[in-house]
Symmetry: D3
Subunit: 327 residues, 6 copies
């Protein structure tokens, strides 16, 4: 268990601490005045990152540890140029059993188990048995299910945290269910199927170890086409799955980004694909808004003015409730 | 009252009919073999339009009637080149009292009175008294209220029918109310205010007499900026309306098209403006989908294939329910 | 066998002919002066189309024939308003065995069998056994192989004829083989694999009966993603196919249109994908050029001036050789 | 009065100075070796900015001063890492009466009073009495008039200085008057009205205290729509103002940016709006050119080569006269 | 001399006329009932075009006349389907001396000689002798001078009439001279040089015989690059022309369309190029406006409403003066 | 001759060296503790650049040397903040004869002489004598030929090294010759002429002294239009060169960038221009790919992952061969 976090450094200034970190950067440098080398590291956890130096006896650490590894370290906190750093006396690779991934990368604040049960409940309620068995073919797949409960929904933008994909999907399904009564053209089971499977390719597009990154397949194929491939794999194991349903589900996956320039090879052409694409975009934008407002609040900015420029949305935002003084 | 409609022509082939029409096209032509002139008209009602000819005694009709007029005519139905036409024996200007506008331009299939009551109910339920009095300042304005209950929401695309604006707004408010619980950043009263007022400029942008068209102000100013002006006029009559609320409402109106190239001078920057803009776009698109499917059904097309190319959406559509055979 | 073609009409003016046609348009009309109905048809073959009328004894024809059917007809050629038409005395559905598809839709002028042997030869020469068995899994699939030898490469633009896909691919492979020596970064077998499989989805995107059209799957999924799905299906039957090769082949298929706005969900990122995409575009453009020049020549235009505006290329073209040859 | 400016630092190296500054940046920092805090400031005036440090007795200053304040300071100039800085011994908030805004932010080099008289003269000469009373309703409004004589025309680009708006408008009106004789379609009074009112919204979009920034209303509404609102307010006080003129003036304001993507909700559709939009753009571009050339000259660059890349124009520029050696 | 024009047809209904025309369309057709051929023509002059038929004795006409030729014809005016046509009894090729080009294609309403003198006057007043001799090298070139006085400025849009180029340039120079005093960065002689030479390539891009069309060089090279080539040719004959001036003049020509997508290979980077490009665009737009208003007036449309959609400007226009004059 | 290179610094740490460098940056600074000035330089050669300081006796160096000069220096290598620098004791301007340009800027790794012979060989083999004499007019022009053998093909992107233009052209011609057999519409001599002359304008657009930069003419005119001008100059010296050929060659030069937004004033309209433009783009892209892979290899990156983001191509790349483990 990890009981010292980067964010606590100020309270431990000058003291010795023992804790676990992920290594974000690892290099061997020459001492300025000659006289050999030292290790220059950046250590990080979910609360931030700090510089570390190891001047002595780092041969074994150097041989076994590297960028992306989890390590157990002992060292002294000090302040240098108004930033905290840690001078290490010991460092070794951490065992898997010593590491709680949630200590190192941000995680959803919702209960993963509860969300999972909620999601399965929606599928159990399907009236279309073919779609039900299709979705359960994914959720009941042990490897896929486990990954689905862990995966972030993005590397950097909205829902970039452990459990973020599940959180995004559950939230999207709720909004789908709230709006579908207004659109009788839409088949509810088909829509929910799309909501649950549209981002399934992110399980292979993203990697979430000590940090979030793209897999090579993610870079070359992308989560939209990965999802289509996964759908084909699952369908191969389902006997007599209706061809028409297959085409409609595939279409929702392919078109969910809504525009060619966002990587969708097809525009949404069915009522379900149109609704899914619109609500997915809405969910992503509103979560981005939420993140911006949280960042402002954390930074003690009042809400009386617009936020910084939000690059992904090409505009600044205004927290209207804070502006109106309701908070 | 009008009891013969264009759509009924086949049943009256060869017979004499008396009915009211709007004149869509009016021209005086030379008879081929010489021997004077005749009137060539296109007469229309909400079910379609047909060619008409008047060969004799049209002097008085010619002097008083013209494009855009409502007329009462008597004549005989015949078929020419596989289309029906009517040879007129009498034509005169119709009195206002003889005309039911709904016979000539398409109208909403919902009850306008009920929608109006529903809409007012939403406003009465506001917890913010300033927004309540602002919206009622519009709805209670006799001229605005009357127009709001009549206006189409567009000249040609979605909701292009009498009562279309009210239908669009009521539908939009319902979806707003269904989704707002998922977005705690959004002030519900502010959102609903935006939903009710965002298209108010269409009352002056569009004209709905015997057909739908743009006013000159609509062409030069546009409904977004007209709405902003109408807001200013109403606010001038409300004492102590909070400046911050004024800015937030104005921002929703200005940004509701969501993109500069769609004529919005500002991008949505508040949670309310973002949600309103997304749902307004969704509503318009889903109504366009509905219209396309209805057109296909009317034309006896089966739904087994995609629709014609839908120019406003730059794609064809697929009626997935019909395709799946659920209808 | 068909021995009268539309293009021959002038030579048969006034005579009776018996031949096979595809029905491009089929409608029952009322005779002008009353007195019942008649059939108004457009009959077509690979050389063009002509109006047909059937005034008598068409009950059985009407019951069995329709748009898209192949028929055997007997009738008399005549000229009306400077166009030729045919007045039918007999018409019946043609048997499959009576029809040579190449008589009705344009077909490649190259020998399909020879091209097929050439293509297989390239694959046999692969040094990479995995890619060899992958490509043969497609070519040796009886259904796929048969379709591959028939399919057009497009509905309307370049190579829109029977055998067009094979012609396009063989031509592309030749250019690939000619250029690959200059690019040592490129794996030749991988490139040729991409060239042979990149458009394989067109086998399901396009339909070529009596004319060319898009399948519903083609509309909703598109040939790029269909191809990816077909690849997945074939790979399921190949044991131990290297994952890295799978990703690289899939990437070539997904990125071969070269730009998001052309429906590629990924941009070409490997040397093979870049080269394939560039040469595929070049082949399509040069074939379009060839088509334009052939059209000009057929119309007796001299080449001394630019062609008509070519919409797909947003410019007119100039046949430089013809232009130079006139000095 | 301020008699020491940042630009003079070199001449006062090592000496004590007393002067007024605006605080651009204000932070409290920990001394490196421990032993308490100090103030780290950036002080600025219209000639530039410099670092300042206050090591002792800053409690009262810290309590009363902050970013954006004007202060009176006493301190010693020194050089550190080739830049000048000032070590403060005293600092207090400055009284309004002690501050001449023009000492702190750049100001027009033209006489504001003269420009104002010139502008009013153009309006007095109007032959259209309605437009005359409309424009004077703005100019004679004490608050608007005062702001109009002070406001910059932009935060950063062309005319970003006190009096910049008036300078821009006077210059624009002159060019309007010079070109209008060539365009008989243009109503001169209407054009000049547009030139004077088109940017009136900047009075509320921009804020000019110790620096230039955007107001919240500027961010959410934008100067185009603010101007439209101000027009509505003024028109409410003018009896019988012709509706047609109102629409034409409003149209010029709304369309003056000339393109949707520049925030104009309407494209210019009248001769006046077209001419105004073209000349406004020309004026802005030529002033940007002038600024670039002045910057080059100030930096001692010769004009023999192109300027740095000018981001707002997406190109570098060339001072052709300097290049030709005429200067 | 031509004394019957297409526009006069109504006054000559039923009469025989003799006149000159350009042949816009020429085809030989089969008589409906058999019995040989006839000529179907479209004859045109600057006032419009009309159908013509020649039923007899057209062998010699057919042998000598064709599309684009000027002919002298004799025939009778009649009305057919509410349009006038002419039945020819005689037709022969017209001699050059019989033809006044201005009778067949529209021409400037200004005096070409006067404009020419005015233009030369501007150049004589240059203070820069190098630019003066450069421009005169063009104007004094007999062939260029003659073409310059005849050429249209466009095939279809603004100034598409004989003398249109000269009219456009003179008008542009006047506006240049009126605005240059406001921009001291601009060298007046250089600007006027650019104004006179910027479109010189149109002398070879456009062809103006019996109608306006593009030359092959116009299609493949374009007037911008043609002008650059012409500049090079002229400079070859001028000794010691300053290299710097050459670059600046060339730059104005290359950049005068102002944007890459309008065919300028360079954006305007000098004050002269910027001003020239802006004023050239303004002149073209205002002339397009003028043309639209004239068309409306000719069609008897009142100015109370916007014009038809103007494709080249992607908007309709409003004649504000006419609109105001109707109150 | 230069025998110490920047890349060798580590091996000479602490030693005195004598060598030649280009001065990339030159400034005179104040010593921190007062006591006069010193020279701060950046010295560079083709292997990189390093900081240099000259503390004493630099008066004569200061008077004669500056940015862009080649100098001979003597000094001692030391390490400061983990980077190497050199403390100069002597520095003087280098004579032209002492400098081998290839020591200072990167150069092609191919034999320039051999490439030149190869290129000339292609031209000698032309069957079209006019094109042969045209191309030789360029290659045999002593000044042009010498520059052609030296020029880089770009300032920063592909082929940005001495001899890069020749390398690019030879490579392009080879690919042209390999593909032309597949396109019988293409005139081979015309195509090769285009390949050799398309970038000839770079001889005047780029400058290659001690570094690569743009000339003023390059900035204002651009290599496309410069090339067109050079073509005109050469053609002036060739008697009876066919006008049609001139237009076709000019067209290839003007259109070779393939799109307006890339600075081509015309789109490719002939088979030769289309093929040239496609292959030129392919060559540039594949060379960029090669550069990226080389950079990765130099940095010890394995090829198992994608490269950094390549800005000019708006994507990262993957070295597929390295990824497959073939290297």
């Amino acid at each position: 268990m990890k009981d010292f976090f980067v964010v606590d450094a100020a309270r431990f200034d000058g003291e010795n601490v023992t804790s676990f970190f992920a290594i974000s950067s690892f290099s061997v440098r020459e001492r300025k005045g000659g006289g050999g080398q030292y290790l220059a590291l950046v250590l990080s956890d979910k609360t931030g990152s700090m510089e570390a130096r190891m001047w002595e006896e780092f041969a074994s650490a150097m041989a076994t540890c590297g960028e992306g590894c989890f390590v157990k370290v002992q060292g002294q906190i000090s302040r240098y140029q108004n930033k905290f750093q840690i001078t290490l006396t010991r460092m070794r690779l951490a065992a898997d059993s010593e590491i709680e991934i949630a200590d190192f990368v941000p995680a959803t604040k919702y209960d993963v188990g509860e969300m999972w049960v909620e999601l399965r409940g929606y599928v159990e309620a399907f009236s279309n048995p073919d779609l039900r068995r299709l979705v359960f073919a994914f959720l009941d797949d042990e490897k896929i299910g486990a990954a689905y409960r862990e995966a972030p929904a993005a590397k950097m933008l909205h829902h970039a945290w452990i459990g973020g994909l599940l959180e995004h999907v559950v939230s999207l399904v709720r909004v789908c269910k709230a709006t579908v009564p207004f659109y009788p053209e839409v088949d509810p089971d088909l829509l929910i199927t799309g909501a649950i499977l549209h981002d399934i390719g992110k399980l292979r597009e993203l990697m979430w170890g000590s940090s979030f990154s793209y897999s090579l397949e993610g870079q070359l194929i992308g989560h939209i086409s990965i999802a289509q491939g996964m759908l084909r794999e699952k369908l191969a194991g389902l006997t007599d799955f209706p061809e028409k349903l297959r085409i409609l589900v595939e279409h929702m996956i392919l078109s969910h980004h809504g525009r060619y320039e966002f990587g969708s090879p097809k525009l949404p052409m069915t009522p379900e694909a149109l609704l899914l694409s619109a609500l997915d975009d809405l969910e992503a934008k509103m979560q981005a808004v939420r993140n911006e407002f949280a960042r402002d609040e954390a930074a003690g900015r009042s809400g009386a003015d617009v936020t910084e420029w939000v690059r992904s949305m090409e505009r600044p935002l205004l927290n209207s409730k804070a502006y109106l003084g309701q908070e």
